[in-house]
């Protein structure tokens, strides 16, 4: 719209006349100097790996998420047990989920561009994750092929998330350090949805999955033993 273009001009001129001079090309040599910004807050955690993972589990349980721990070998069986204990049968999985995670005995819908109405039929979803932040018990999804499209972890009432211990960091800044590339999509999940809008009473599960379960895969034990650095 022409009006929008002239408003754009007016707004930018109004801004420029009030602030430091600015180039017309973003990303040019006149990029603002960020070195003056203080970063004296805590960036790296101080907990050892075990304590860090323990903290993650504690925080998840504070949110009333179910947490099970297992080794990499035990994972498929643990998934099966978790799904069985939910009493539900229809699950949706992202396209890139390892086949070994699709436990037998359940109805699996693998998402290859499913319509929302169909995802809505599923009783739960299973996904991997990108990172866990122990400080706040936050799970971060970047919606890669193993984590799935955003609707998968939104519509079904249950979300089973497979989180590797090596993916867990202590502080939020450490998560950002791990992002070699900035994600196009990210969802930070810190417990099931909640509201405190009625008399400040915290009620869980307004929209979004009301049940969150996490399987913490202890993949660092072998790595620690072999001396390799967890990544």
């Amino acid at each position: 719209m022409n009006d929008s273009a002239s408003s754009r001009q007016r707004i930018l001129e109004s801004i420029r006349s009030a602030t430091a001079p600015v180039s017309s090309e973003p990303g040019s040599e006149n990029a603002p100097d960020r070195r003056v910004l203080p970063r004296t807050y805590i960036r790296r955690g101080t907990m050892n790996r075990n304590a860090c993972v323990e903290r993650m589990i504690d925080r998840l349980r504070e949110y009333e998420a179910e947490v099970a721990e297992c080794t990499a070998e035990e994972l498929p069986a643990t998934i099966a047990a978790q799904l069985a204990s939910s009493g539900k049968h229809i699950f949706v999985a992202p396209e890139g989920l390892p086949a070994a995670w699709l436990a037998p005995g359940f109805e699996w819908k693998v998402d290859r561009g499913m319509a929302s109405e169909e995802i809505e039929q599923a009783e739960g979803a299973i996904t991997a994750a990108f990172c866990g932040v122990a400080d706040s018990g936050t799970i971060v999804l970047h919606h890669s092929p193993t984590e799935g499209r955003r609707a998968l972890t939104l519509l079904p009432d249950r979300h089973l998330c497979i989180l590797r211990a090596s993916q867990v960091v202590e502080t939020l800044p450490e998560y950002f350090d791990r992002c070699q590339q900035t994600p196009m999509l990210a969802t930070f999940i810190s417990g099931p949805s909640a509201t405190a809008d009625i008399e400040m009473t915290r009620i869980k599960g307004v929209h979004g999955p009301r049940f969150l379960a996490v399987i913490l895969v202890q993949d660092e034990i072998e790595e620690a033993q072999s001396g390799a650095k967890a990544s």
Binding site: I11, A18, A31, T40, V133, S136, R149, A186, G208
Partner: protein, 481 residues
């Protein structure tokens, strides 16, 4: 109950707007309870966060830096968002923003929209405008549903329905959702809302949101929420329209490592809110395939000129200031006559209105400083309040009607009196003699006329002593000789 007016061009001055609230024990109780809950949670988490002072400094610096270089970062955001498939529109004022949004809805042939709560849309009075144009608007935040169905106005920017208790919510839902047997247990009310909205989420193809942050380096948008309705609105529809003030920009994605830590603790007293969503333009196969950002100025760019005013724009809408404000505690949000209440409202609204309206808001404060103490981005709210008082006074003092205003007159006289010691001493004697008229036998004044009545309506005033301190000192010095 009188319907609150949150339009600064129509709302009564603060002292008047506060009166119905002051006489409403239910509302005052609700407000105080909500404030106490959030404050306690916040205090606990702030005490636990050993680098809280450093986080505040960083948050303040990041926001200040973004504002200092706002033109650069806005253009960067626009370029990156566009490259990722989004469309960026610029609205100089509320009227233009509304028209842009309606135009986009017409392009979509949209007859309904679902909305995530956004103060910015309330600021531009979007809902009534769209309804009048024949577009059905469905709020999806629990608080916003309560307000919409109950025909109420928000009184807080994070917990907008905090002035409404469960019984009142039950009554609204039962009536509007046709649920006669609905109980007033919070979980039952929440379930009712969940059911009510499910179909809307799955079928309405157009959504409107605000933004907590716009990420310049990536063109990304971040929305912070608790209930999940935000995720519904920004994932399921075909078209997404985000309206955001130009000041919402953050330079880099990693700046969220600071902002998210201070926002959740300040706003709801949590280490992290349940859901934060970040999306960039359009992602094929995932989420809305048409995405528009409407950047809103509406008075913000003018505020950039002077540092004392510019700091107002650092605000990240956490509401910690109003949660700590002893004035807000007694009046709630409606008294401020603006969608932005409390301390931040007292400085933001008058400035957005260019001091043409909301002129009483900078005086709606005892300058106690509690807000500045808790502001995660260190806005020196008392400093801005004083600045705005000076501007209001400068604008008004020349007007004839103000010349005879008792307070203005009194302050002019006081200044004259304070400028010369002999005048001051004379004035003290005159006051002492004059007030004797009103001093009762017990040595106290129980009632004063005119502007003095504002004091004596609830307080006594001790009568002026026979001798000022200076007179005593002078007499003592004479005696010593």
């Amino acid at each position: 109950m009188t319907h609150a007016v949150l339009d600064p061009t129509l709302a009564p001055p603060f002292p008047e707007g506060a009166l119905p609230v002051l006489r409403n024990p239910q509302l005052r109780k609700n407000v105080a309870h909500a404030m106490d809950v959030i404050q306690a949670k916040r205090a606990k988490l702030v005490a636990e966060k050993t680098d809280w002072p450093e986080l505040r400094s960083a948050a303040s610096a990041i926001r200040a830096h973004a504002l200092e270089n706002l033109g650069y970062y806005l253009e960067q955001f626009e370029a990156r968002c566009t490259a990722a498939g989004g469309q960026v529109h610029w609205a100089a004022d509320a009227t233009e923003a509304r028209e842009i949004i309606l135009g986009l809805l017409r392009q979509e042939n949209a007859t309904e929209v679902i909305k995530i709560k956004t103060m910015t849309s309330a600021e531009i009075q979007l809902n009534p405008f769209l309804q009048a144009a024949g577009v059905g608007v469905f709020e999806t935040d629990l608080a916003e549903i309560i307000l919409q169905l109950g025909d109420e106005e928000p009184s807080h920017i994070v917990v907008p329905a905090l002035h409404i208790n469960r019984g009142q919510v039950r009554e609204i839902f039962a009536r509007q959702m046709g649920l006669k047997d609905l109980s007033d247990a919070p979980h039952a009310l929440t379930d009712a809302a969940r059911t009510y909205l499910r179909q809307k989420f799955l079928t309405v193809p157009t959504a409107i949101s605000g933004a907590n942050f716009l990420i310049a380096e990536t063109g990304g948008v971040a929305v912070v929420e608790s209930e999940g309705n935000g995720r519904m609105c920004l994932t399921l529809p075909r078209t997404m329209i985000t309206v955001a003030g130009i000041e919402k920009v953050l330079p880099r994605y990693e700046d969220l490592e600071v902002m998210l830590q201070v926002l959740a603790r300040s706003a709801t007293g949590e280490r992290m809110n349940p859901y934060t969503s970040l999306w960039t333009g359009v992602t094929p196969g995932d989420g809305p395939q048409r995405f528009h950002v409407v950047l809103l100025d509406n008075g913000r760019s003018r505020m950039l000129k002077r540092p004392v005013e510019r700091q107002t724009l650092k605000c990240i809408r956490c509401a910690a200031c109003m949660n700590s404000c002893p004035v807000y505690r007694q009046t709630g949000g409606h008294a401020y006559g603006s969608v932005y209440p409390g301390p931040i409202g007292a400085i933001l609204t008058p400035q957005l209105m260019q001091l043409q309206h909301a002129k009483s808001l900078p005086y709606a404060s005892s300058l106690c400083g509690a807000c500045y103490e808790v502001c995660p981005v260190k806005i020196n709210i008392p400093e801005v309040l004083l600045e705005l008082r000076a501007q209001v006074t400068d604008n008004e003092r020349r007007q004839t009607v103000r010349f005879l205003d008792p307070l203005y007159l009194g302050l002019r006289v006081a200044n004259l009196v304070f400028s010369r010691a002999w005048l001051f001493h004379l004035a003290q004697r005159v006051a002492r003699i004059g007030l004797r008229l009103f001093t009762q036998k017990d040595g106290w004044i129980h009632s004063l006329p005119f502007i003095g009545a504002k004091w004596t309506q609830t307080r006594d005033l001790r009568g002026l002593p026979r001798q000022t301190f200076r007179e005593w000192w002078t007499a003592r010095a004479k005696e010593a000789k």
